[in-house]
Amino acid sequence: MTRNESARLLRRLAGAGHFLGLFAAYLIICLPGFWVVLNSFRPTVEIMAKPPVWIPQSLSFDAYRAMFGGLGQGGIPVWDYFRNSLIISVTSTVIAIAIGMAGGYAFARFRFRGKSALFLGLMLSRTVPGIALSLPLFIIFARVGIIDTHFALIVTYVALNVPFTIWLVDGFFRQVPRDLAEAAQIDGCRRWQAFWQVEFPLAGPGIASAAIFAFMTSWNEFALASQLTRSVDSKTLPVGLLDYTSEFTIDWRGMCALAVVMIAPAFVFTFIIQKRLVSGLTFGAVKG
């Protein structure tokens, strides 16, 4: 074998190994999701069987039919939960991004007293586990009388998301060279115009990904929502999952079906924004 041939063989082997490794990693990541989808179509007996039934024997849409079938037939108020989730997630994301953009921009661009202390404080607030605050939050919200309202959850999620959003957005604005906003101001922009015309479009993909993070956090959050909600007026989808537990049994199939219903919109939302994320924004503002 010539040296060229052996090098080529080695490269192909390495390529195949690479592929297999990635495949295994993806399998591990995707398997639980796949299992959830699969179980939503299988009867509970089969799900709970020991030893496990790997190959599904009977598949049906019964769980979905029951879920949307209304009360009394194993149905749960999916549409109410969905509406609550949507209102709360979208509103809190929009507010968190608005605050995060203003804050992130300030941290990236301005010098002010106590900047690093403030930034550290924001980051430290993330070290407190959210669940540790659930009791104080519950007591305060109960006193104010906003338990079981959209408002309570929106406020909570904004507070939860703002520090992280600021941190992300700050990083993205830092990547936009300062010169660009200055050039825009020389070209006749007010600061405000320079921001919207030049800096915002360039940090846009980053802000979009911050929005995805904020939305996902609110959409999936369970612990606090389960404390702060009571009825269909404000229960979100993750809390709705609890409807499938009763004193002695858990309807795993129904739960999996609701989980699928929950995942779908988040999936679509991420996909839409992801497309904007890689909108071919090629840098080249400054030398290089």
């Binding site: 060279p177 010169d179 660009l180 200055e182 050039a183 825009a184 101001q185 020389i186 070209d187 006749g188 922009c189 007010r190 115009q193 015309q197 030049v198 479009p201 360039l202 924004l281 090629t282 840098f283 080249g284 503002a285 400054v286 030398k287 290089g288």
Partner: protein, 255 residues
């Protein structure tokens, strides 16, 4: 075209004085180069003229009018940045026309002036590209085009050629000189490269530690340096400086 006058201009960063009360009068249509080692305050001075840096004290006049508190957009200036600062999300055409779009000029006028500028700078073939698809020299040209499209009274250049290779730098130097001849205007040009300063400028201002060491024509600063610093800074190789006692001031060699 306009005159530019600096009167006791000072920039302070906390206790540090980056620019110390400099005076400078620039005539209408003059090409002035600010040179000096890095950290001498030349860029800060330029940025104060542009309105990008707040003035600690003193006065900047453009065309006789005090502009201290005017924002950059109201000063009728253009600036070419060292990094070029092209807008990466816009095509070359949009980059060139951006200032006119912001000024809400009619589209026909924008197109016409963009074409004019791109002809001067040989950018016609590149108008629909993005900055990322251009070479360094082409980006530099776009940056200059963006500056001339506005037809400003004063051009400010902040080390515009320092990111180019030696050959391109020499070529762009010629182009800048030609440009100044074609588009008559007042130019303030910051550089640390004395060759650029000597070849381009009508007048050279040498700065050190926030003060002006000497201002004069290239010949003047080369042949009659006012201070030892200027003598050592200008010329390549630099002037030899020898310690000597003035025993015979009357001898012709010492005069």
């Amino acid at each position: 075209m306009a005159t530019v006058a600096l009167d006791k201009l000072v920039k302070r960063y906390g206790p540090v004085e980056a620019v110390r009360a400099i005076d400078l009068d620039i005539a209408d249509g003059e090409f002035v180069a600010l040179v000096g080692p890095s950290g001498c305050g030349k860029s800060t001075t330029l940025r104060m003229i542009a309105g990008l840096e707040e003035i600690s004290s003193g006065v900047v006049r453009i065309g006789g009018e005090v502009v201290n508190d005017l924002p950059p957009r109201s000063r009728n200036i253009s600036m070419v940045f060292q990094s070029y600062a092209l807008y990466p999300h816009m095509s070359v055409r949009e980059n060139l026309g951006f200032s006119l779009k912001i000024a809400k000029r009619p589209q026909s006028e924008i197109d016409q002036r963009v074409v004019e500028a791109s002809e001067i700078l040989h950018l016609n073939a590149l108008l629909d590209r993005r900055p990322s698809q251009l070479s360094g020299g082409q980006r530099q040209r776009v940056a200059m085009g963006r500056a001339i499209v506005r037809k400003p009274e004063v051009f400010l250049f902040d080390e515009p050629l320092s990111n180019l290779d030696a050959k391109l730098r020499a070529q762009m130097r010629t182009e800048i000189k030609l440009l100044h001849a074609r588009v008559p205007s007042t130019v303030i040009y910051v550089t640390h490269d004395q060759v650029e300063a000597m070849t381009l400028a009508d007048r050279i201002v040498i700065m050190r530690d926030g003060v002006i060491e000497q201002a004069g024509s290239p010949d003047e600063v080369f042949h009659r340096p006012a201070t030892r610093f200027v003598a050592g800074f200008i010329g390549s190789p630099t002037m030899n400086l020898l310690d000597a006692a003035s025993a015979a001031l009357r001898s012709p060699a010492a005069r």
